[in-house]
């Protein structure tokens, strides 16, 4: 097993490329929930039933003719990982906190480039997740659809003619699809338009959440927008609706950026360079402040006010400054204070590397 490959590098291979509209959209993700017919859902499954699920999924994974993206994919069992390693996979959005902490016989299949992660025995038996850089929800859906077809050719799913794919939670029934896009909206936040925007989004059946999903805080002006309805609409309709709404959000964010540029350029420039200054010089920095400053610098890069730092460096920093990552890198447990020091160190290092690369 080559787990270090998945935990040592902050950026997944897929994230290194530049996706469409990547000045505002960080990533697009589609997740579909599936269950095997004839076995209780993970919550009630016995230990042997849960390990049977893993066995069947692993067999399907090894079958000839599988999609190319799964050719060198590995199945990693949660029981084989340390708490820190699990945490890092959560910070990279490859697994959910639920799989890391609460699953029994939980496992994940990761593709080499980490664009595909398939969780086994999370809330449902199988959750296929496809992550793409930038604004590409349709592409993510197409890949998830293809992988789903493959698993379905090997496994029998729990399906009802009227209710569709049967899931553990009634909020996922039907298509089982959750499509989401991670957006960076600093200008809408600065101009205080988010509290008008978010209720409108909720009204059209979409949800807005913090970057680590449900219940998580919004850090660094990053938000996850996703569909709420999974029953009664076709997958394509669900994905297209999300796309349409996010396209409008992108426009609003652009307008807000232009307005700030025109109305208070010097203040904006000052704020961005101050944040950059703090990040390049601080010796102690909390995760919250780091995310806020990184958001400013990211905005500066996207608006052409800061050069010498790639947006990828910022994406990377947003992951490696998380607690799990810092500790894996340091190869030891760190308390909050030690983490704040390491974090500052890491950021300074990355930023000066970025400059050297230029």
């Amino acid at each position: 097993m080559s787990l270090p490959r998945f935990t040592q590098h902050a950026l997944s291979e897929w994230m290194k490329g530049k996706g469409p509209r990547s000045d505002i959209v960080i990533s697009s993700r589609v997740r579909i929930a599936r269950n095997l017919s004839g076995l209780p859902f993970p919550m009630l499954a016995t230990s042997s039933q849960s390990s049977e699920v893993v066995r069947r999924v692993e067999m399907a994974l090894r079958e000839e003719g599988r999609p190319s993206v799964l050719k060198d994919a590995e199945l990693i069992r949660m029981d084989d990982l340390s708490d820190l390693e699990k945490r890092v996979l959560v910070e990279k959005h490859l697994i959910s906190p639920h799989l890391a902490e609460e699953s029994r016989h939980g496992a994940v299949i990761l593709s080499q480039n980490e664009a595909v992660s398939i969780m086994v025995n999370e809330e449902d038996h199988i959750r296929i997740q496809c992550l793409f850089p930038g604004f590409q929800p349709e592409e993510a859906w197409k890949l998830a659809d293809e992988l789903d077809d493959w698993f379905e050719s090997q496994l029998t799913y729990a399906f009802s003619e009227t209710k569709g794919y049967l899931t553990s939670c009634p909020t996922n029934v039907g298509t089982g699809i959750r499509a989401s896009v991670m957006v960076h909206l600093p200008a809408l936040a600065l101009t205080r338009q988010l509290n008008r925007l978010f209720p409108a989004i909720t009204q059209v059946g979409l949800a807005v959440r913090g970057i680590y999903g449900e219940g998580s805080e919004a850090l660094g002006n990053l938000y996850q927008v996703s569909n709420q309805v999974t029953l009664g609409q076709r997958e394509e309709e669900i994905v297209q609706k999300l796309e349409g709404v996010v396209r409008q959000m992108i426009e609003h964010e652009h307008t807000a950026r232009n307005r700030i540029r025109e109305a208070s350029f010097i203040q904006l420039e000052d704020r961005i360079h101050r944040s950059h200054g703090i990040l390049s010089s601080a010796r102690v920095i909390s995760s919250k402040e780091a995310m806020e400053r990184l958001s400013d610098v990211r905005l500066g890069i996207d608006m052409g006010l800061i050069s010498g730092v790639t947006p990828q460096v910022m994406n990377e920093l947003m992951v490696i400054t998380q607690p799990g990552f810092l500790q894996i890198r340091a190869n030891q447990r760190l308390d909050t204070e030690e983490r704040d020091i390491r974090r500052a160190e890491m950021i300074r290092e990355q930023l000066s590397l970025g400059r050297e690369r230029e």
Binding site: F41, M43, E161, P170, V208, V229, L231
Partner: protein
């Protein structure tokens, strides 16, 4: 700008509230905002669809219980396969197995309507378990196409479609 509540921390939450037709502006820091329970949509924790779900279900639960009362010692509604009772389901908001959908079906449609606005799946159909539904969908599609052909007076093509529909229908009935 400082927080108007504590006067110490910088205000990060700004909003306007109309109280009795009067406009009030608020500038709060996060700590004070949280204390006042004034949080922005999407930024709070815990108030999600999944948490609300159990509330929605409990509504149904109470309703179901009232309905069941007259029968006095009626057995609790229970999934025969996994043993989960409806009242357990309404507490945790999760099904125990796929048969729960049948076991609780009478209670579920109102819930689905509230959560999704729909009660019937229109999306993807798996090849193995969805065979008949696939055929039925194909028939519906062909029927629509046939209607258009007839409207356009393309009767030859319409007849061909009619035959295909008949074939599929036979396959379905057999």
């Amino acid at each position: 700008m400082q927080c108007q509540e504590c006067g110490k921390r910088p205000a990060t939450l700004h909003y306007t509230k109309i109280i009795n037709g009067e406009k009030n502006e608020f500038h709060l820091c996060e700590v004070c905002a949280r204390e006042r329970g004034e949080q922005m949509a999407g930024m709070d924790s815990g108030f999600s669809i999944n948490n609300l779900l159990s509330g929605l279900l409990n509504l149904d639960g109470q309703f179901a219980e009232q309905q069941a009362r007259p029968a006095a010692q009626a057995q609790p509604l229970r999934c025969p396969t996994c043993g989960l009772t409806y009242s357990q389901f309404s507490k945790i908001g999760r099904f125990g197995c796929s048969d729960c959908y049948d076991a609780f079906s009478a209670q579920l449609d109102p819930l689905f309507r509230r959560v999704h606005g729909h009660t019937t799946h229109r999306g993807k159909v798996p090849e193995r378990t969805g065979g008949k539904l696939r055929v039925r969908r194909e028939i519906d599609k062909l029927k629509q196409e046939m209607a258009t052909r007839i409207e356009n007076e393309e009767f030859e093509e319409a007849a061909r479609l009619r035959d295909r529909i008949r074939d599929l229908q036979e396959k379905l009935d057999s």
